[in-house]
Amino acid sequence: MKVKAQAVQERKPAAKTPKTGADLFVEALQAAGVDTIFGYPGGAVLPIYDALYRAEPRFQHILTRHEQGAIHAAEGYARVSGKPGVVIATSGPGATNLITGIADAMMDSLPLVVFTGQVGRSVIGTDAFQESDVIGITTPITKHNYQVQKQEDMPRIIKEAFYIATTGRPGPVVIDIPKDISGEAYESSLDGGDVHLPGYQPTTKPNSNQIKKLTQAIVEAKRPILLTGAGILHAKASEEVRAFAKRYQLPVTSTLLGLGAYPASDDQFLGMAGMHGTYAANRALYECDLLINVGARFDDRLTGHLEHFAPQATIAHIDIDPAEIGKIIPTAIPVVADAKAALQALQEAEAAIPDIQPWRDHLQQYKLEFPLWFNNPVQDLIPQWVMQAVHKATNGNAIITTDVGQHQMWAAQYYGFDQPDRWVTSGGLGTMGFGFPAAIGAQLASPDSTVISVVGDGGFQMTMQELSVLQERKLPVKVLIVNNQSLGMVRQWQEFFYQERYSESLLDVQPDFIKLADSYNVKGVRLETQEQLVAELPALLQSKEPVVIDCRVLRQENVFPMIAPGKGLHEMIGVSR
């Protein structure tokens, strides 16, 4: 057997093979406009991979080195491109290795269509080799899922899956395909017909009475605040939200996932709110009399103790998912709608512009008096400072992906996103190992952008095998390891709340990341001083090659300011040095 180790292998001329169910699958993907697939082959998807081999035109198939890498890459791709990420894995372990990514996409509302192989229909339910109950396992973590029971259902199911994944509140849809369904001959072609889902009719247009009520509330408010969530990004409504905020001169804050929906450098922007948000943003939420939430879901990391969350405020909530409205906070003005449609309707409504200058001055005072801060010693690398340096070296134009933890918070606090869809982070599920594969997907979605995967030394070690993809595809992803030789956020909490008992959070033993990169034929650089970083970072980030940067930062640095667990928005600690 001859094996070529090249990315694009020479293909055998397509012998005349009979058409199978897997060809129906390929036709359905083509009809859905799919060009990129993230996947990993295996026994139950052999017929599918054979059909992919024969498909014309070819799909761009990204072979990650673990299924988890495939699905996080698909998430990054979906987040940046706005198109659904498509994933293929085999049955059993292939499918179960996707679970973290499916749950992550569900929490952060990312459109994915995930195909899993399944054992043949005749042995389903017999604990066959590589069988797992994918439908049972994924039901609570998908927007919807399907098992294809008949070949002729496949085109319809695939069409519905793309529709469900990408409309309303986006989310992951799993399609489980038994091997005999994809393997058996099927001669004719089928299209999926019209999508007919009587139980799925998302409301996208706002109710005009609620828009009137909200407009009235804005006119009457003395202390309004606008909270931007990821719903704005999904609705591609950044311009609309900006126009709306400008019209009423509203102070603006954002959730973690909403960053970039409103420009960070605008002077109405108070910074991110929540556990590690700015003092000004959290005080604004605490003191406001009208909270306009557009596309956020009042996550506990945003609200802190609910009793102290916007206690004097009228709550207005615009969300495409009615189940999010009133879930956490009783809502006086519910607007079920697509963020773009709702903001447009609000802009069309006639209203007097209220004078909120005293409130704006008051918040501006907070902003000036209590900005984000960090100690900056002369020599050592301070992670916050590194984030500022990354911003400077990329003019704030890079796509940044992260895992969860300290590095994520520092990136969120200090990178300063002025544009939408440049921030890819695992918010709801908080997944270590997300950032690096997500960067691969982001780079594929936006080949000309500088994509930087800001990761911790812990999280990178969870999915670093995907360096192979950089090697194989020559993808110029920049991996910036914020290396504090610890699981920083765990260590921080142990320092604050467990009397410095650092239980299993210090990673004294590490691989040599430079040698690791080198073994994948990827450039590796270690940065240890500010001087060195200033001299080398810009060129490294502008390089057209992939680079792994092992950035040795001060180990004991903590994320501030902070709302301790169980505390309210007004109880921030570490507000100033």
Binding site: I135, G136, T139, P140, K143, H144, N145, Q147, Q149, I164, L197, P198, G199, Y200, D321, P322, A323, G326, K327, P330
Partner: protein, 174 residues
Amino acid sequence: MKRIITATVQNRSGVLNRITGLMQKRQFNIDSISVGKTEVEQISRMTFVVEVEDMQKLEQLTKQLHKQIDVLKVADITENAIVARELALVKVVCPPASRNELQSIIAPFRASAVDISKDSMIVQVTGDTDKIEAFLELVRPYGIKELSRTGVTAFLRGHQPQAADGNTYSLITN
């Protein structure tokens, strides 16, 4: 508080699992659940009796149910004029000497003896939950060998009292 919720669903594989899984995930307690086909092919109707803490939780439950793609319609019918029924089969200890006595309990409940053997009797009783509870209370002293209940299934009455008709009422008290 106990609520009666009905859902019209598409009869697809896994739909019951979706619904019960959802309730478990969101920490709702199901008192009873009954499922069956309807007059429309491929459409099933589910009736749940659930225990919820407050109106906010109740609203969350109906919204989450409605979010399921296979769910066509959800209604909390607790406050409406409804017909709510369940069926219980009770195997009661019944030596020949107590047959007459048991028959005299069965009659006013319009229950019926559906099986008699030499030392036990199976009684079928239908009605709202209170009626079934009352019946079980009465036969308990004889000794219940086995009990099986279907759970409530419920319908809106044809005529719903308007505001002028007085308060709506509920067969299951809050």
